[in-house]
């Protein structure tokens, strides 16, 4: 039998980067095919071409023996190609039914659609209520909406872009059961991920991309995670040095921190308590949207809470403004680099002033000392190996990894007592990620207390001395990270939001 989709020498270039360079591979009927690669390897561009969002510069595709060149997602959908996005293409203020209707070519009327949604979602073990607002759903439930939207159109090929990065381990199992059931019904699945264990257990075949090129093809079940990782990265990865953990006095303490979310679709913090000691790295895991943003806002001082809820070296700072907290030694680095941790259209010098005015004494009587700011900026660039033509460049012009190094470096070089970082290596290349993790551990080794909020469990396991999970605005009791099993972490992450694995389909 001919393959479902043949991809033949697809290339796509963006200014300054060859996103895809003559990529070729086949996808068979009913197979789960992994597309493996690091951030920036060209996976997203490739699937956008298959889904009609981007047009290839050269090359061709053949779907079921027919020439296939979708100009729009609508054409792709009509041809039987469906896609679940990494960042969901959902509308928070609209309900489930409306969202699904928007993604369909010929949506039936509202009532018929609602009945269909109930039927299909239950059949695949992903129950959904068509009348609920997306904004009120958990991340796992939102992904269900995306999947059900695809399933209603009887796709031949389902593309899934990093689907598990937002799920708890239990939710991942349910998702895998659904995907296996689909594959057994003849639907092909193109599964994009950089999580090797997942691919080993789920996928029949894998195509590996690096820097826009196909660098390998394999049967994941026959490989080790290490061998695939080396194909993906093209080099061996340096692991951070192990270190002795000697906790000192409590530096940062949260006492029953409560904070209502201002975002109508956000999560309020409820009774969050923790004690972070000098020299300790505490990891806080959990799926995004469970109160991480609110926690960071409360710690940075962007939102104020009753003063006693947060103490820094014994001093109540819950209602202190950001600059006061920095003066006292509490620094933060938010998740979003462009627009929150840094101003995109300002220079690196200006961005150094953003948080370092007080501790680096960059202002005097309200006047800025630009020379001092420039030399601090140069110091960050040098010590954190930020690749940039100079300190006059605007933040937006830097790559994600370089800007993240700059942002983390800016805080680390101010020698904080307590540093709080959110998603320190999100969207950052492997080398930069390793450097950032090492810098944070060095900081703790020198006696600072470090709080790392992340969705990447591997990262947290690698870095943390103690570990806790934020789920629906509540923080689990922090535990020593050593010896924690994935199952235990999954339970800490707060279960499955009512999803039940299908009988017989789960592994």
């Amino acid at each position: 039998m001919e393959p479902l989709l043949q991809i033949d020498a697809l290339s796509k270039a963006y200014p300054g980067v060859q996103a895809n360079d003559s990529v070729s591979f086949d996808i068979e009927h009913g197979e789960i095919h992994a597309l493996l690669g690091e951030n920036g390897a060209g996976k997203s561009t490739l699937v956008k071409m298959i889904y009609g969002l981007v047009r290839p510069d050269t090359g061709s595709m053949t779907l079921l023996g027919q020439h296939y060149a979708p100009a729009r997602p609508g054409e792709a959908r009509r041809a039987g190609v469906a896609m679940v996005f990494q960042h969901f293409s959902l509308f928070e203020a609209l309900n489930v039914g409306e969202n699904i209707a928007l993604g369909m070519e010929d949506a039936p009327d509202r009532r018929a659609l609602a009945a269909k949604i109930r039927e299909v979602s239950t059949a695949y073990g992903l129950p959904l209520d068509p009348d609920r607002l997306i904004g009120d759903l958990s991340v796992g439930e939102r992904q269900r909406v995306e999947i059900v939207r695809c399933l209603l159109q009887n796709p031949k090929l389902l593309i899934m872009d990093e689907p598990t990065s937002v799920l708890t381990p239990q939710e991942v199992e349910i998702l895998f059961a659904t995907l296996r059931k689909l594959a057994s019904e003849g639907v092909a699945i193109l599964y994009i991920s950089h999580k090797l264990e997942e691919i080993k257990s789920l996928c029949n075949r894998a195509t590996i991309l690096r820097l826009g090129k196909v660098v390998g093809k394999c049967v994941p079940a026959e490989e080790t995670a290490r061998s695939m990782a080396e194909m993906m990265i093209g080099a061996e990865l340096a692991m951070p040095k192990a270190r002795d953990y000697q906790p000192g006095a409590v530096a940062l303490e949260l006492k029953a921190l409560n904070l209502p979310s201002l975002d109508p679709f956000g999560t309020s913090l409820r009774n969050v308590s923790l004690a972070l000691r000098k020299g300790e790295v505490m990891g806080i895991g959990g799926v995004a949207g469970n109160g991480q943003d609110e926690l960071l806002l409360a710690l940075s001082g962007e939102r104020k809470v009753p003063s006693g809820m947060i103490t820094l070296n014994g001093e109540a700072v819950g209602d202190a403004p950001p600059e006061k907290r920095r003066a006292l030694g509490l620094l933060t680095a938010p998740e979003e680099r462009l627009g929150h941790a840094a101003a995109p259209d300002m220079t690196l010098v200006d961005n150094a002033v953003l948080t370092a005015q007080t501790r680096r004494k960059l202002t005097k009587n309200g006047w800025l000392n630009m020379r001092k700011a420039a030399s601090f900026s140069d110091e960050i660039i040098a010590k954190f190996d930020v690749r940039t033509p100079g300190n006059h460049v605007v933040a937006r012009a830097l790559s994600g990894g370089n800007l993240q190094k700059y942002v983390i470096g800016r805080e680390v070089l101010q020698r904080p007592d307590v540093l709080v970082v959110n998603q320190p290596t999100w969207g950052v290349d492997a080398a930069a990620a390793a450097a950032i993790r090492q810098a944070l551990r060095d900081l703790a080794a020198n006696g600072a207390a470090v709080l790392v909020v992340s969705q990447d469990l591997d990262e947290l396991m690698e870095m943390s001395d103690t570990f806790a999970v934020l789920a629906e605005g509540r923080l689990s009791k922090p535990r020593p990270a050593e010896g924690l099993s994935i199952e235990e972490i999954g339970l800490m992450m707060g279960g499955t939001h009512g999803m039940e694995p299908m009988a017989g389909a789960a592994t």
């Binding site: 293409s89 928070e92 209707a101 928007l102 975002d263 109508p264």
Partner: protein, 310 residues
């Protein structure tokens, strides 16, 4: 002071007339904002509608052709805004202001030779016995066609936004242009269509001033009605039904102000003339003070430029 000279029925009738232009312009802007675009040029499009409608009505002696021309002129001016904000990605606030400044100037220039003329009259509905019903007859069955059209548009837009697929797509674009784009919807074209609809409605609202409410052409005759329509959209929480209530409340206030002037309450008329503007401010304050609710109702992408990066 003699309040008995205020006839409550005429008050209600003139309230509806006073409300109609801001209702029309407000409905147009509501659709524009639902698509995620903030067009502050309503005042400019209204005044252009006022002069274009007036000029064509005078030249052809047909007020309805004038109204069509007003809608066309408003839509063309809106298209200019659309091209700038959607294709050239200009700042929506600044471009809307430019539209108003440009529109006021252009209208004054075009209207130069039309000052002092009288437009052809617009007939009112008169269904003999129905119109003769006491009280209700004059309030319900004795208006010009535009009043009925504006009420019809309230219902039509409610249906469009809440029941039709096109309306769903429009709301989706206003909620998240990135998500709508990734589903394959043409964000720019949908917004352009909404912007032109908004322009046409504002143009008609302007023509209502010059052809029916006043009726003659004077420079700057819309006197901030476009801005009041913008405030009403906030007041309405982007719901057509509430926009109708808001516009009629507002019409009531401005009519009452005029009546109080006629009666003479011993206050300088200049102070009375401030009331509609002060009431607008108060309404804005009340509607905006609950931040959480305000952000829930407003289209999430309102005022943000969209540029597909791939």
């Amino acid at each position: 002071m003699d309040f008995s000279s205020i006839d409550p029925i005429s008050l209600i009738v003139s309230l509806m007339i006073a409300a109609t232009p801001i209702l029309l312009a407000g409905l147009g802007e509501l659709v524009v904002e639902k698509s995620g675009v903030l067009n502050l040029g309503v005042e400019g499009m209204m005044i252009i509608g006022a002069i274009a409608g007036f000029a064509l009505a005078v030249e052809t002696e047909n007020p309805y052709l004038g109204m069509l021309a007003a809608m066309g002129a408003g839509a063309v001016l809106a298209l200019l805004f659309g091209i700038l904000t959607q294709f050239l990605l200009s700042n929506q606030v600044a471009t809307g202001l430019a539209l108003t400044l440009f529109g006021l100037g252009l209208a004054a220039l075009l209207g130069h030779s039309y000052t002092g003329l009288k437009p052809p009259a617009v007939s009112k509905l008169d269904i003999g016995f129905l119109t003769d019903i006491p009280v209700l007859g004059r309030i319900v069955f004795n208006h010009d066609a535009v009043v009925y059209f504006s009420i019809f548009m309230v219902i039509a837009l409610w249906w469009f936004l809440n029941r039709s697929r096109a309306g769903l797509v429009l709301r989706a674009v206003g909620e998240s242009h990135d998500a709508a784009h990734s589903l394959g919807y043409n964000v720019v074209m949908i917004r352009l269509a909404a912007i032109m609809f908004g322009g046409a409605m504002a143009g008609l609202g302007g023509a209502y001033f010059s052809l029916i409410r006043v009726p003659q052409w004077t420079e700057g005759m819309t006197a901030g009605a476009g801005w009041i329509a913008l405030a009403l959209v906030v007041f309405s929480s982007w719901k057509p039904g509430r926009l109708l209530i808001g516009a009629y409340l507002f019409g009531g206030i401005s009519v009452l102000e005029i009546n109080l002037q006629i009666v003479g309450v011993g206050i300088s008329p200049a102070y009375l003339k401030m009331t509609p503007y002060l009431v607008t401010i108060i309404v804005l304050v009340i509607m905006s003070s609950d931040r959480r609710r305000a952000s829930l109702n407003a289209p999430a992408s309102l005022g943000r430029s969209f540029h597909a990066s791939h």
